[in-house]
Symmetry: C2
Subunit: 347 residues, 2 copies
């Protein structure tokens, strides 16, 4: 257990010497591979414990091409949706003895590539990756270097990656239906950047629901980044229109919070003056006043699923790739309001 005031690390050779065996025998004991006599194993284990021997992963990885590390590349760990995913991933792979490298791309493709290059160099066993758009360059880097990838949260038609995401289209459709059934006819969607599948799918699903349940109703879409600031900005613009919307759909949690802020600043009541629905619930831990009606994604489960898939693929790279689509769950709270009654504000 002791190693003195240690400078350089204990090597397998020192353990072998102390146990009076060859290095291969120590290796076999440590890796539980091959035959080792019971007495020998005990001597080796004693030496390992006495010296506090920890195998050097650099040397190991050089031979075995395994690092015991996977990576999780998200757009912003600060978003509780990704935080919860991260916890799901970490819990899952940690149980299998792997550790997690973290990266934030802020939806910037150059960052995606920068990270992917570092990951290839580090020889990670796999990557869980939230691409901004199609993530082509980064995915190509992974593919050409034989690194297994699970694409998370976003759509991907790349043939050689697993995908774990939620039914954004369906969740948005449900929200649209709810608002239509409540009698709304003028909608604004606060969307993310075009080209990001989650945003695009949600805009589409919502629009489709409106076409179906309030034919001819107006849906105006405003694009921004996934941030509170942009949510607030876009909501402000919408509210200042000549004919403002009676219902707003924010495609992302930050946009929803921004929208709420903007409404409050203008003394516009939610849901009294305008109904508001969002996507991605905040973890119950963080919410002092549950208020927003949302389509909630099972973030933790997504992390677990992605982690499990990746571990399986690392185990057996020949497995066929799958595209997993998990369902969302609508949680109706105050912000969506109720039935508008027979007198919706004049259109």
């Amino acid at each position: 257990m002791e190693t003195g005031p240690g400078k350089s690390r204990v090597t397998i050779r020192e353990v072998a010497e102390r146990a009076g065996v060859g290095t291969m025998t120590v290796s076999r004991v440590v890796n539980r591979s091959g035959y080792v006599h019971r007495d020998t194993r005990e001597r080796v284990e004693a030496a390992v414990a006495a010296l506090g021997y920890l195998p050097n992963q650099h040397a190991r990885g050089l031979r075995s091409r395994r690092s015991g590390t996977i990576a999780l590349i998200v757009t912003d760990i600060t978003n509780p949706f990704f935080t919860t995913i991260a916890r799901g991933v970490e819990d899952t792979v940690s149980a299998a003895g792997q550790m997690v490298l973290l990266g934030n791309t802020d939806e910037v493709e150059e960052e995606e590539c920068r990270y992917m290059k570092m990951l290839v160099q580090k020889g990670v066993d796999g990557v869980i990756f939230v691409p901004a758009r199609r993530g082509e360059a980064a995915l190509e880097l992974a593919r050409s270097n034989g690194v297994p990838v699970v694409v998370l949260d976003r759509r991907s038609d790349a043939p050689d990656v697993d995908v774990v995401r939620c039914d954004s289209w369906g969740g948005a459709f449900e929200l649209g239906r709810l608002l239509c059934h409540n009698g709304h006819r003028r909608f604004t969607v606060l969307a993310g950047p075009t080209g990001i599948s989650t945003s695009d799918d949600r805009v589409e699903g919502f629009s489709r629901a409106v076409e179906e349940f309030s034919p001819g109703a107006r849906v105006s879409v405003r694009h921004g980044r996934f941030s509170v600031r942009d949510g607030s900005e876009l909501m402000g613009q919408a509210l200042e229109e000549a004919n403002p919307p009676t219902a707003v759909f924010a495609v992302n949690n930050f946009l929803a919070i921004g929208a709420l802020t903007a409404a409050r600043e203008r003394q516009v009541r939610v849901p009294g003056d305008v109904a508001l629905v969002g996507f991605d619930d905040l973890p119950a831990q963080l919410v002092t006043f549950p208020f927003l009606t949302v389509s909630a994604q099972p973030a933790y489960a997504m992390g677990v699923e992605a982690g499990t898939r990746l571990l399986r693929r690392i185990e057996d790279p020949s497995l066929p790739c799958e595209k997993i689509i998990l369902p969302t769950q609508m949680v109706v709270r105050e912000s969506s309001g109720g039935w508008l009654g027979s007198t919706p504000s004049p259109s």
Copy 2:
């Protein structure tokens, strides 16, 4: 840029061959070390680009004992306080070309050691560590293997580590003073597990303020884990006392949210029936209704500071260790209520 349908990685030898030079020359070009003729460098760079060469970090690390990786071991990344810290750390070290390994200990010492062993094996260049209690075993592992450590958020008297934390005592003192000045005389503190410095310091600082500004007033302390559930549980118990507190201090954000939940369930109004203050603000991004009066810690700055310290120490291990204590900032909102007036409920 192309590597065919790539299976095994491109090595320095292949680059050398293609450029018609020795491997050392390639190494020198890649590492910008030593002398290389301008023409040679260009040939090598062309070969590197053509083959998509990425140096193998395992081999590099084996020679140079550098991994280009640091670790961040927190108790729970799901806590937005730590999430924000993580983002600060990642932004900082990422700019220096390092990546971050993440671990959650859930305040369990065995997990601390399990992670630390893996980190030593991986040869990380340094660790930013939030110990549950004193973290002795894990710190000893790091020390004996020559891994630089920055202890984050918690107190540590270990001589050979940097410490970056906030003035928990002072922040709690401020909150206590505020409540005393508002006329409160019966206090309950919802604390974390004993032995965790943040909790202990906050209990002490708060108690000290009460002693000073409301001599003889009652402060009862209830201990639990840092969770919404326990916050709710403890708050429930406090509210059901014969002589319930008029003011409650939750030493942590989760405990505060739990307390709020418990109050609401019992139709106890905050701050009408009981004042509530907490520690750790939630990021503005996440808060739909700013309500809780708190002592806020500069989480992002703490992450940046810890990252910077660690990078500096990696650069020059001989630097003396420092203990950095950042100030907290009290943010007064609704939940703490106002002056109780001349008729505090009879004690």
